[in-house]
């Protein structure tokens, strides 16, 4: 059987530098896949030797998309090292920033990063505005901006654009591809929302900035709390936050969720064919206490789609391997071990120990795991979280799908939309809690400590559920300086390379078996990869060869067995 290798680089509409290489048989069915992170920066190396209090500002720069996630995780890991217990207000403000980011990220992902894999811009031009308006009513009783006039305006706008021959960012899409299945009217609805979502994400970023000073890269989290106390005590700022989130909720309920339903119904065949399904191992750490002892998400581990048996998350089961990533664990001084590409620029994958990515290989109990909104939703739902249950059940009922169907390319988007709707509902409880605290004169935002008197040697860790899944930071402090630093980001889990075990990560596993109609236009590959919302700057992290020093964390390398 002859196979053909397709190289896709750059994968656009993601954060960072991702390459995918797939080997297809004569029918275009993917037999093997390799995904590779193509940029190494070495943020952990840069963190070494610095004051632990500076970790947040620096580690925040790991990613400008998951912008406050790393900032918070770094500060939290240092707080964990020093056993600092944060004032409730500080936790809430951090959560409010995080939750606004969830919504912002998910909406940007669905429309700006992913929708063109399903929506054909050129087809939308054939749409009838009146029919589009009617179509939208099938997915919500009060669709977002659904007047005929509005759709006419969108048609005109996009039409002018195409007529002028200036497609700008729409240039060279796979327009007209047979895999595009939406009707012209459905395409028009989604393009209308694409444009509205551009405004939406600008607006909701203000919610993050209210408490963060700015976004991307907010600047208000410090070891021991948050700095934006004056904003917290300003009723107008709280009010602004509430109103922005109220508007966001409108958009999520009336545009995003209905569009996710539309997509699920239109691409039902793909869903039922299980396209984009990975190995069914899911990991979630949960979090977001919106009421005393009540958390938005549960922690848990699912193996092989067995939703009946959920294991508790056990951090000691995490290990990291590097034998097919461009690192070497033999000596601490020689951490990077770049073995280059082939002459023609393709990845070296011929031998099963060829290194081919800057992404290291995290394993949970020796297995590759999928993390992200799909994992979060499945774990919380399966653990009987009644709050999220109604959101999931309603979505599945309206689209006539089952829980397993979410574990597909299109299903990942549905899970993300469900998660967004769920967060929009409960974010207001969190604000109420903050208001309640202030009402009873609890205005603390920082826990006092004297840095000079803190222990000089300490280890800390932070596990956070962030928009793309489970994020963990580990810090090892010696003589009051950072001795070692390590990060496992959601994309590290999902985009992991193979290992000596030959196990495929979620990206690779989901790619294997899909059929590519036109190998010069590998739209199907983009769909699968985009459904994970890749974030490569987050994913690439150097592994520490002497990693046993990281607290109780056993981050094993191949060479330690």
């Amino acid at each position: 059987m002859s196979t053909k290798k397709i190289v896709i680089d750059p994968i656009t509409r993601i954060e960072g530098h991702l390459r995918a290489e797939v080997e297809v048989d004569e029918n275009g069915v993917v037999q093997e896949a390799y995904v590779s992170g193509q940029l190494f920066r070495g943020i952990e190396i840069i963190l070494k030797g610095r004051d632990p209090r500076d970790a947040g500002l620096l580690a925040g720069r790991i990613c400008g998309v998951c912008t406050n996630s790393h900032f918070r995780a770094a500060v939290s890991s240092v707080e964990d090292a020093y056993s600092l217990k944060l004032p409730n207000n500080a936790e809430i403000i951090r959560d409010l920033m995080a939750m606004a980011l969830f919504i912002q990220d998910h909406v940007v992902h669905f429309y700006h990063l992913h929708s063109f894999d399903f929506v054909d811009v050129t087809s939308a031009l054939q749409a009838d505005a009146k029919l589009a308006s009617k179509e939208a009513h099938k997915y919500h009783r009060k669709p977002f901006r659904n007047s005929h006039a509005h759709y006419e305006e969108v048609l005109q706008k996009v039409g002018n654009f195409v007529k002028a021959g200036k497609l700008g960012p729409f240039s060279n899409g796979y327009w007209g591809h047979v895999e595009y299945k939406l009707t012209p009217e459905q395409n028009l609805i989604l393009i209308s929302h694409y444009l509205e979502a551009l405004k939406f994400q600008t607006n909701i970023s203000k919610a993050v900035a209210i408490f963060g000073g700015k976004t991307p890269h907010p600047q208000s989290i410090i070891v021991g709390g948050v700095t934006s106390v004056a904003d917290m005590l300003n009723p107008q700022r709280l009010n602004d936050y509430l109103f922005i989130m109220k508007e966001a909720k409108e958009f999520v309920e009336r545009a995003y969720l209905p569009d996710a339903k539309l997509q699920s119904i239109a691409y039902r065949d793909d869903i039922k064919a299980g396209i984009g399904r990975a190995n069914g191992n899911f990991l979630s750490v949960g979090g977001y206490e919106f009421e005393a002892k009540q958390r938005l998400f549960c922690n848990g581990v699912i193996y092989a789609h067995d939703f009946e048996h959920i294991e508790e998350f056990d951090e000691s089961k995490i290990s990291e391997e590097i034998d097919r990533a461009w690192y070497s664990g033999e000596t601490r001084e020689n951490e990077v071990c770049y073995t280059d590409l082939n002459e023609d620029g393709s990845l070296k994958t011929a031998k099963n120990d060829d290194k081919y990515s800057w992404i290291k290989a995290p394993r949970y109990d020796g297995k590759t795991m999928e993390t992200g909104p799909l994992a979060t939703v499945l774990v919380s739902y399966s653990k009987g979280n009644n709050l999220i249950k109604s959101f999931v059940d309603e979505f599945l009922a309206e689209t006539d799908l089952e829980l397993i169907d979410l574990s597909t390319t299109v299903g990942r988007n549905s899970a993300r939309a469900i998660e967004s709707g769920y967060i929009c509902e409960y974010i207001f409880k969190l604000v109420s809690r903050l208001i309640q605290n202030i009402k009873y004169y609890d205005t603390d935002t920082w826990v006092r400590y004297d840095f000079e008197k803190l222990q000089k040697n300490a280890n800390g860790k932070a596990f956070l559920e962030v928009p793309r899944g489970v994020l963990s930071h580990f810090v090892n402090i010696k003589d009051a300086k950072i001795e070692n630093y390590s990060v496992i980001a959601p994309t590290t889990w999902n985009a992991t390379p193979k290992n000596f075990d030959g196990l495929r990560g979620a990206y690779e596993e989901a790619l294997v078996g899909i059929k590519i109609q036109d190998t010069s236009k590998p739209l199907e590959v983009l769909r699968v990869l985009h459904s994970f919302d890749p974030c490569l700057a987050c994913a690439v992290h150097v592994i520490d060869a002497d990693a046993n020093e990281l607290s109780s964390y056993k981050i094993k390398t191949l060479f330690e067995g």
């Binding site: 400008g64 998309v65 060279n172 000073g213 890269h217 106390v229 004056a230 280059d340």
Partner: protein, 805 residues
């Protein structure tokens, strides 16, 4: 609101006019006990010598103000909020007492025909007639007394004047003997005036309500006309019963008395906290402003003691005095005198600081003296000596408004005004206390010949606009040089701009903002808009290298214009990996196409550092696995302009922070080019990207850059200088620990390691996310992310010390 003002002097008029100016709907009434409408007492001398009639010195009054004359108020009913005169009753919501002061006489002169004080127009009438054929005796030598002395000295029908002084000084006891002699000479050289020091009236003979003779310690004076100029006291007898009084009616610093609806302003009031009773017009008007601000609750101000300036111009000499509240009698004095010029500068020093200045025929810049006293700077005798002969702006004319001779001449020559009345639109000189009015008139008259007869008359708005247009003209010349066919001039600018296409409303507000931020005249707005539309035709390639996409994320959050307008209507974002539909080969095709077919036309924006170690292989892009540096060089080669956005593209940023594991550098260094525009920031504010693009499109050259190639329009101002918390810094109000009381109040973050003093950018004015906030507002402080090596230097929460490591 009904506001009743009791008093008929300059303060009452000032209060009434300014209340009306701030709120035309107010019902304002003035109750004066005089028979004349309010007039300017400063000019009483001109009534004495008949150079002016009473109506010539009357004070301008807003016609909607109700003026009641001959109303001597003798009772206040605070309960029902009414005041009473002998024949009328007036209701008020707010009452302001501005009855000023009354002159002191050494014995009761109310029934004596040939004795008077010098305070009112009626007194002038008495003096005018009474002095004829009599020996005039003036007791006291305060400023007004000296002016009257001068006036009488000039009057031919006054034969002889005796000035009786209890002490041995003129004007003020602190004056040096030289000064006193100089003043004395001016008065006595004609022989009409004799000055008798250490003298006083010891006896008098009165017949038929007329003083027949006066016996002083030294002289016997027959048939005298006696004028008391010995001082004043607050005119408050009628209010002592109803309001708490000490020397004057006691008030707080808002000039409010113990009754919250009653205020007292001017010489009748005593600010309790300061034990202060006003003596100068400027102090009275300052108090009036405080009272008005408090009554109307707009921009409320408290009364503060301030440096006062007094001037006296009598015949051959002029005198100027600058006096600080800090002056005390244990002073030392520095004198610079010239016998030749009759010039004496007296500097009074307390605790090494200048606290008072009196100059006779002085040339020194009074404004400088005032700032010296205000700032408490050390006295620089050298400077004062060097400038003793002539100040740059000439003599001070108006001490209230600080207007100098040259300032007035400039106004005259620039605007072509010909009268005092016309001056009003340009300057308040001569209008506050009015003392210098004639001098102002003289300057206007004497400088008429300097006016260019061909110059068209201009309004104040014209002048202001003209100054701005001069700046615009400079830019238009530049524009014309680059676009010869446009041929814009200041004459056709309006119509030329009007003919340009006008965009949508939403865009307009943004354009105004950018125009203002780029320090362009508002007339340029439409040109900016044209620039925006031109931008749409310039292809833009946005490369991401060793980055975190933070700048791309920031860019798509551009609030004004909305990102959708920006990427669909205004710029042609042809290659941007975060947004573009195409991937893999298809995206490479786009890039190849632009690079090959649009040489010298496209703009390259680069985000991220350039890793150079390991032959650049820490970053590889595209199906062929090009390294970051290879791709950058390829794209930059034929770009018309390369812009490095964000701190990583600027100097490697976080990626190049120690120990710089991937050998990362900024774009300029990687390309070894000096013409790369840097727009640093972590991430940079999207408005700075768009603004810089516009600037380039409009002016077709690099915008003015600093030495690190950052556009000055965005990176010129120091963050500390424009910071909203700067006031707290000045007051020494600092956040001392996170979340403390100061943090809750928004105090200065310097002690918490804010790097605003070391960073230059427009963050304080532009803010982020559509003006929502910025790191200082969020209580963290600046981390200097627009500066070089900031991760190794500034990115922490500790105070910056030069050699931290």
């Amino acid at each position: 609101m009904r506001i009743v003002i009791v008093g008929g002097g300059i303060v009452a008029v000032y209060l009434a006019n300014n209340l009306k100016k701030q709120n035309a709907a107010l019902d304002v009434t003035i109750l004066s006990d005089e028979k004349h409408p309010p007039y300017d007492r400063i000019h009483l001398c001109s009534l004495v010598d008949n150079t002016q009639e009473i109506d010539e010195i009357s004070l301008p009054l807003d016609p909607t103000i109700r003026l009641e004359l001959n109303q001597k108020i003798n009772k206040i009913d605070k309960e029902s909020k009414r005041v009473f005169s002998d024949n009328s009753m007036f209701s008020y919501d707010k009452l302001i007492i501005a009855t000023g002061s009354m002159p002191i006489s050494l014995f009761d002169i109310s029934h004596i025909k040939n004795a008077t004080v010098f305070r009112s127009a009626d007194d002038c009438d008495l003096i005018k007639i009474g002095v004829q054929g009599r020996e005039v005796v003036i007791v006291g030598s305060g400023p007004i007394g000296l002016e009257l002395l001068e006036t009488l000295n000039e009057m031919p029908n006054v034969v002889h004047i005796t000035l009786l002084l209890r002490g041995n000084h003129l004007y003020a006891k602190e004056l040096s003997m030289d000064s006193i002699k100089t003043i004395e000479e001016c008065y006595t050289k004609e022989g009409k005036i004799r000055i008798s020091y250490e003298d006083e009236i010891v006896d008098k003979t009165i017949e038929n309500s007329e003083i027949i003779s006066l016996q002083t310690k030294k002289f016997q004076i027959k048939n005298p006309f006696l004028i008391f100029g010995v001082g004043i006291k607050p005119n408050i007898e009628e209010f002592r019963e109803s309001l708490a009084c000490a020397n004057g009616i006691l008030t707080n610093r808002f000039m409010q008395t113990e009754d919250e609806d009653i205020y007292a302003v001017g010489e009748c009031a005593e600010v309790k906290e300061l034990g202060f009773v006003a003596g100068h017009v400027k102090e009275c008007t300052t108090q009036a402003n405080c009272a008005i601000s408090h009554i109307l609750q707009t921009d409320v101000k408290e009364f503060e003691l301030e440096v006062s300036i007094d001037m006296l111009k009598v015949g051959e000499f002029d005198l100027v005095e600058v006096n600080s509240p800090k002056f005390s009698s244990d002073y030392e004095k520095v004198l610079i005198t010239s016998k030749e010029d009759k010039r004496i500068d007296e500097y009074f020093v307390n605790d090494d600081k200048l606290t008072r200045f009196i100059g006779i025929n002085s040339n020194v810049d009074v404004g400088y003296i005032e700032s010296l006293i205000n700032d408490g700077d050390a006295l620089d005798i050298n400077y004062l000596y060097q400038n003793r002969l002539i100040g740059e702006r000439g003599r001070l004319i108006c001490s209230c408004e600080h207007v100098y001779h040259q300032d007035l001449v400039d106004i005259v020559t620039q605007t072509g005004i010909g009268s005092f009345g016309e001056l009003a639109s340009f300057s308040e000189a001569g209008r506050v206390c009015g003392r210098c009015k004639t001098m102002v008139q003289d300057v206007i008259r004497d400088s008429q010949h300097l006016i260019d007869p061909n110059m068209p008359r201009k309004s104040p708005q014209d002048i202001k606009k003209e100054r701005e247009m001069a700046e615009v003209t400079k830019r238009i010349d530049k524009f014309n040089a680059l676009h010869p066919r446009n041929n814009l001039t200041t004459d056709n600018l309006e119509s030329a701009l009007a003919s340009l296409e006008i965009g949508k409303h939403e865009v307009n507000s943004w354009i105004s903002m950018v125009t203002a931020d780029m320090k362009l005249h508002p007339n340029f707005e439409k040109l900016v808009e044209k620039g925006v539309k031109t931008l749409n035709k310039v292809p833009i390639v946005w490369l991401e290298l060793s980055d975190c996409s933070g700048n791309s994320e920031a860019f798509i959050k551009s609030a004004n214009p909305a990102i959708e307008d920006l990427i669909f209507d205004y710029i042609s974002l042809d290659y941007h990996e975060l947004l573009m539909s195409a991937s893999g080969d298809m995206s490479e095709t786009i890039l190849e196409d632009i690079i090959k077919n649009q040489k010298g036309e496209y703009i390259l924006i680069v985000e991220g550092a350039v890793p150079l170690a390991m032959d650049g292989k820490y970053l590889r892009i595209g199906p062929k696995g090009e390294t970051g540096i290879e791709l950058l060089k390829k794209c930059a080669k034929d770009a018309v302009l390369v812009i490095a956005v964000g701190s990583c593209a600027f100097d490697g940023g976080v990626v190049a922070a120690a120990p710089n594991p991937t050998g990362a550098v900024g774009v300029g260094d990687a390309l070894n080019r000096k013409d790369v525009i840097n727009i640093p920031g972590c991430p940079t504010n999207p408005i700075n990207i768009v603004g810089t693009l516009l600037s380039y499109i409009m002016f077709e050259e690099l915008p003015p850059l600093d030495k690190l190639n950052r556009p000055l329009w965005a990176y010129e101002g120091r963050i500390h200088d424009n910071c909203e918390r700067r006031g707290h810094y000045e007051l020494g109000e600092f956040v001392k620990e996170w979340g403390d009381a100061g943090a809750k109040k928004g105090y200065c973050l310097f002690e918490m390691g804010c790097k605003g003093p070391y960073a230059n950018a427009n963050c304080p004015t532009m803010k982020f996310n559509g003006g929502t906030s910025w790191p200082v507002q969020a209580g963290h402080g600046c981390m200097g992310c627009v500066e070089q090596n900031f991760f190794d230097k500034f990115a922490n929460e500790r105070k910056y010390v030069e050699e931290e490591k």
